[in-house]
Symmetry: C2
Subunit: 199 residues, 2 copies
């Protein structure tokens, strides 16, 4: 491809590495970066570097943060006796958007998946058990996805934690709010029947 | 959004600036960058910087290049008497992919558009006229899009160039190869009738 300048070609390849960006999209973004002002482009490059040099994991909950302890863990106004256990930092963002949860989080940074070689040692489970040691935690909400890996991880942690006398709960699964019964998949619909509540 | 680390939030905003990337996509890309190895992320940042510091315009055709004169203009094997005039460097890439053109190019870097305040002075038209001075150029192929701006730019340049005795041609417009007549839009179908050729 001698007709694309080499530095531009390299930038196209970098964009094409991102998930869901093909060659055409990557080309569009690379030309867009070229048409930015030099200052904007330098800010973009700096933001990528900063994401790697300035973001670290909260010492308590393992969520991404700039500080030693994240804003949620250091917030005295939150209920530190309830921990919502999630797979990734993006799940924390999703729960925070609901404004329905006032407890704290624990980010596992993955799910158990023996097929992919991901064992308990690679997840932040040890850090979670450390938090349970002082006896102040009363409930763990297992908020992993309802996939095979998510369920297995939830069961694994529940088994470890129950002997410590901590209540372990799981998110409710049922029909999405505002959804149409005729379009619900059979597993969700079945789950909504099994978990029906008295009115 | 206190629950997203500030450097990560800045990176999300940078991605969201690109055309066609919304907040959700930008978040996905930012987390992807974070999960890259540090070296890969630094290469990405470097590629953005390099695109701005190392890419410049070819002295002859104004296409993007790393060198003073681009690979196409400095290729003695190409026909330097035919210039294909295009709007942007991406059009050059498109024509090169066809392998049907052995001449050289001229990139205007835009189209005339009085509504958007883009006049002839902002395009690389002066540089094109300079190339015609030595009398070696025999044909200009106006390969701008068949939009109002593309047609106006082609007509404008044709008018300037014809007095110099240079042949000016326009791309053929008709049905796309392999297309279905019943799905062709009426303007394209009309153009294919008007420009019909004897078999």
């Amino acid at each position: 491809m001698a007709y694309v300048a080499a530095p531009l070609e390299r930038l196209i390849e970098q964009f094409a590495k991102l998930p869901g960006i093909g060659r055409k999209g990557a080309t569009r973004y690379a030309y867009q970066v070229l048409s930015m002002s030099k200052q904007d482009a330098m800010e973009f490059a700096q933001a990528i570097q900063d994401a790697h040099t300035k973001v670290r994991r909260c010492k308590v909950c393992q969520n991404f943060t700039e500080d030693e302890i994240c804003a949620i863990c250091s917030n005295a106004g939150r209920d530190h006796s309830v921990i919502c256990v999630v797979e990734s930092p993006r799940d924390v963002t999703a729960f925070e958007r609901t404004r329905a949860f006032r407890g704290v989080y624990h980010v596992l940074h993955g799910l158990l998946s023996p097929m992919d070689g991901i064992t308990a040692e690679q997840l932040c489970i040890k850090e979670l058990l450390d938090r349970l040691k002082d006896g102040e935690i009363q409930e763990l909400i297992m908020a992993t996805n309802s996939t095979v890996e998510g369920e297995a991880t939830a069961m694994y942690i529940a088994k470890l934690v129950k002997p410590l006398g901590v209540k372990v709960t799981r998110l409710a699964y049922g029909l999405p709010v505002g959804s149409d019964i005729q379009y619900a998949d059979e597993v969700t619909l079945g789950s909504s029947l099994t978990n029906r509540k008295e009115l």
